[in-house]
Amino acid sequence: MANTLFDKIWDRHVVQQVEDGPTQLYIDRLYCHEVTSPQAFAGLRARGIKCFRPDHIFCMPDHNTPTHDQDKPIEDPISKTQVDTLAKNAADFGLTHFGMMHPNNGIIHVVGPERGLSLPGMTIVCGDSHTSTQGAMGAVAFGIGTSEVEMVLASQCILQQKPKSMCIRVNGTLGKGVTAKDVALYIMSKVTTSGATGYFVEYMGSAVKSLSMEGRLTLCNLSIEMGARGGFVAPDEVTFEYIKGRDYAPKGEDWDKAVAYWSTLKSGDDAVFDKVVEFDAADIEPMVTYGTNPGMGMGITQHIPALDTVPEAGQASYKKSLDYMGFEAGQSLLGTPVDYVFCGSCTNGRIEDFRAFASIVKGRRKAENVICWLVPGSWMVAEQIKSEGLDVVFAEAGFEIRQPGCSACLAMNDDKIPSGKLSVSTSNRNFEGRQGPGARTILASPLVAAAAAVTGVITDPRILL
């Protein structure tokens, strides 16, 4: 008997086990954005069928949305068509739609938790690999392809092979200036970008439990970057406190019932995982990546590993990666001039991320050589930034706040890093061309990003705190 929380949530949602095949799993929440859903809706039309459970489905554009002038029509006609298509599909199929400028609009993985739509014990899917973010609520949340979006639209179910379970435990206390982002980049640098493929991860340990909900969302967000289908943290008081009072959260008697149920959602003391990995929080320092996958990360005071530390089959890829970045093995990145800084995305686009950024830039000035984009993950975050007066801090330091969306994380809107330019980004992927053709990306926490923004070079944020 495995007795893991993953098993408990998964087993509860099994509609049937297909003989010599996958599990048919019931899905509590489907989110649709404009990029990975149009072909799924087209599929429903081709089959002449409706959505099976429209009230379980929420739609919002985020990938293509511009980060300025959202009250005006989108200039790029192809982006506009994709965003308009989502609105039309939602209307035609009777689904809730938070369009651009709607107060609930933002990046799906920021909006779901902050509006109380994503709750403990749920199964949550979206045609987006970073759906893993929402596992922080104590849910089984994972990204799917467009054919699978169509499956859920048509039947509120999905066919999936049950993943294996993995426990990642981070013990101890995180040091000064070390954030959830650094924990995730550190874990990835140890387990590699494929080390958790085939697994669903439960994060445990004192360093994980001490994280705020925003921190847990960042940690779970990056589960996919080590190949895991998803990752989650068992719900606790921190979770309940975060959810309480949010728009779609249960209220009154329903709330008490929900908390009673959510409190049972934990792995047993005798739970058996297929794989267990442990780390010590004291070993983690602020992290930066130096290559073209998120597993190529190191402590900010470290040097890029030598070629001969890489297994032979991977050396061609490693060399290609460093060539693309314009870095050399053995090099330190401290002091490297930076062209762009991006703070935002479903990884680090929440209020705590902007508070962290503000804590560094307060009383300092943006470096002349840096172009900086601060993009809140949602309108709610944008409002919080204002109500807390962070907008004033940013303005005084020479920064401006843009409007919410995925933005430069994947450069589907106008926010593209020009070819050859070096960007320090709080997002999730440093793949070749991810932030624009030829763009070079260093992934880091909002603190490291802020330190780069005010000094103009890669800087250890601990000296500025």
Binding site: G21, V35, N64, Q82, Q160, S194, P437
Partner: protein, 197 residues
């Protein structure tokens, strides 16, 4: 495209790189289509590796080398990591590949390939390394992928390996059926689950 699988014998296109992510398979700027035109996605498969920044053909990239061709793509381990975009599978199918051989696939992409009638074949590191060598020695090396018997054979060396695929998915591939057909037939079970929960 729904098509029935049986035995495929073909030459291969080798891509001996690890961690090929879906942003490389199809960059995000090509995700703005609202229809599923495999030809469009196929034309932009590996776009930023196929073309130089100035739009000219990158003659060093394997898809631009007439020496290599066929219905089978052979790639280094951890193929298809990153974004869940199914457009990557559409691009691979649209280009004309029916099989991708690697020692390791990222989960979501593997499902996406299967859902688009592209068969991901997982082989051992040894088989993969030997296959890359065979193709390097002779670009006309044939590989046979026998779906009914779940066997993949490097015809140059004669080495065969059994590959995994569950019985349900094998049946779907061999009969050109998809998961939605299956789910729609099971609505009564879904409603029964809902009434219990």
């Amino acid at each position: 495209m729904k098509q029935k699988f049986n035995i495929i014998t073909s030459t291969c296109v080798p891509l001996p790189l690890e961690n090929v992510d879906t942003d490389q398979i199809i960059p995000a700027r090509f995700l703005k289509a609202t229809t599923k035109e495999e030809k469009f996605f196929g034309e932009n498969l590996f776009r930023d590796w196929r073309y130089n920044a100035d739009g000219t053909l990158n003659k060093d990239f394997v898809l631009n080398d007439p020496t290599y061709g066929g219905e089978i793509l052979v790639a280094g381990k951890n193929f298809g990591s990153g974004s869940s975009r199914e457009h990557a599978a559409w691009a691979i199918a649209g280009y004309g590949f029916r099989v991708v051989i690697s020692s390791f696939f990222a989960d979501i992409h593997k499902n996406n390939e299967l859902n688009n009638f592209v068969l991901p074949v997982v082989v051992s590191e040894t088989f993969l390394a030997e296959l890359f060598d065979s193709i390097k020695d002779d670009p006309k090396t044939l590989v046979e992928v026998d779906v009914p018997n779940q066997m993949v054979t490097n015809k140059a060396t004669g080495r065969s390996e059994k590959f995994e695929i569950n019985g349900y998915k094998k049946y779907c591939l061999m009969n050109a059926l998809d998961d939605i057909d299956f789910l729609l037939e099971n609505k009564d079970k879904i409603e029964a689950w809902e009434s219990e929960n």
